[in-house]
Subunit: 316 residues, 2 copies
């Protein structure tokens, strides 16, 4: 059993590789929900959806959100009515969010609704929201405070960041099964997602952070930063904004309390020593995942790391 912490970009690609090697049944994915939002009265969970659609084989791999081949009739009609939605949401994608909202309004918890959606779409991995409580990412910028989606979608991250906070995180309990999945897994993977607003909120759910810190030796993080830049998304401007260097060592600094090891890109070999001085082991592998072959290759590296580290204790 593997537990994987995931945001909406990067990690889903790795999930494709892992699923290929070990089978979806072996995966529990713990997903960030701090970017969740209400749009047109519909509860939208962008990261949960990317993970679910990826595992269901529906993800639009051009955009890495939404459903492949989706149409936008409803979204466009809303615009015609004068109601402009921040997220361009496809008709099939909307069906998923509508159904989730419907279940939530009937009193179901997000984890329950997520599991229903996964079951309906034939997802065999276990997909868990980090929490059933409402957490909201607030980005503090030179233009004032704003939601993550406003920062990322409406402003395209083109605004100076001074900080990030997660409204509600102090009271957020892990969703049912999350801590058990972490503690019952042979290995925990912190996927190559944005460490500030994707993985960050998961780690800050107190009991999740605590159990990772406790099991740190079997937690491997994969750097979402290669060289001086994130592979995708706004991780750079956000890391800088909260005072971290945008580099694998910057990532190591964020994760060192929770992960025993960090996988960095082969090209960042020269940074291994600097990272290890922070008390976190560092390994290298090619981290770019432009196609299935590279996803499987990275997954193999990740699994290899755990095989080696589980052998070591036996040898010592």
């Amino acid at each position: 059993m593997l537990a994987v912490l995931s945001g909406g970009t990067g990690t889903p690609k790795l999930l494709q590789g892992l699923a290929r090697l070990v089978g979806q049944e072996e995966l529990t994915v713990i997903v960030n929900t701090a970017d969740d939002l209400e749009q047109s009265g519909i509860y939208v969970a962008p990261d949960l959806d990317v993970v679910t659609y990826t595992l269901a084989g529906l993800i639009d791999e051009e955009k890495w959100y939404g459903i492949r081949g989706d149409t936008y009739a409803c979204h466009e009609m809303l615009a015609r009515l004068g109601h402009r939605e921040l997220l361009r949401m496809g008709d099939c994608d909307r069906a998923v969010s509508l159904w989730r909202t419907f279940m939530l309004r009937r009193g179901m918890r997000l984890s329950g609704a997520t599991s229903e959606i996964c079951r309906s779409l034939g997802v065999r991995a276990r997909v868990l929201p980090m929490t059933d409580d409402r957490v909201e990412t607030i980005v503090l910028t030179e233009a004032g405070e704003m939601s993550f989606q406003e920062f990322w979608v409406a402003r395209r991250a083109r605004v100076r960041v001074y900080g990030v906070r997660f409204k509600g995180i102090g009271r957020a309990a892990p969703a049912p099964g999350v801590v058990e999945a972490i503690e019952g897994s042979e290995a925990v993977i912190i996927g190559p997602s944005n460490p500030v607003t994707s993985i960050g909120p998961i780690l800050r759910v107190r009991e999740i952070g605590r159990s990772l810190a406790k099991l740190r030796r079997r937690v491997l993080a994969i750097s979402p930063i290669i060289g001086k830049a994130p592979v995708s998304g706004p991780a750079g401007v956000l890391m800088r904004g909260i005072g971290y260097e945008v580099s694998p060592p910057g990532v190591a600094r964020i994760y060192r309390r929770y992960a025993g090891a960090l996988l960095v890109d082969t090209g960042d070999e020269g940074l291994v020593l600097e990272i290890e001085r922070m008390g976190i082991r560092a390994f290298t592998a090619p981290l770019l995942m432009p196609n299935l072959r590279s996803k499987v290759r990275l997954a193999r590296h990740v699994l290899g790391f755990f095989r080696k580290s589980s052998e070591k204790p036996r040898a010592s």
Copy 2:
């Protein structure tokens, strides 16, 4: 100024004719909301939508509901998820209902949301829900009590009816502007919609029924029954179910307290005397409206009736 009481079928066709002759600006349409329902957490107002889409030139004239050329991606995806919707709702149609639901959840009243939708779609007539309060049609059948949509859409009206009641009607107040529109109009038209579940609830909103009864002389009803059968819809089984003969005289009996005159089909000329004995004047005109020409012709008959009746008092 004309006030028209409307359900979802029949009357919208007449509205097309009336709009052609007097212009939409001269029309206030008071619409049944007792068929309204929640579907997938969305507030659906079938009759308001048919009227609005008709006046916006968007109505699907094959089905007389929904938007012409609409797609069904969201509805079909919901079905794939295992969530079957009673009403097959198009993607653009859904956008309208979603937006309405969004406005209602923000505290707007149905009349306000309806006026926003009309404005956005370029409707120049005034479209008013009969009430902003929730009224629900319950059909009492041999198979138990059911909502109107369950009776009509799911069961296709193929079940014996014992009665109809309108939950909430006793407490329902007319929507703002309804009574003023009726009292300020030169003429009130009870359109050729189902007298039991479309016009019936409008008449039972106490203040609406009372003001029609008071102004009865300038109220003209158009029979939705030609010969022994309704032109469309379940009016027949419903009229029979509540103890009325399915015939123009049956319609006259339902409306005689509210309307001074009833327009029946030319073919029902022979029933005029029977109707007039009930204390309601009867006139004939061709009532079938298969095309725009026949809609305009019927509208001309309706307007002619009021012109004649407004001349008479002056002559006497």
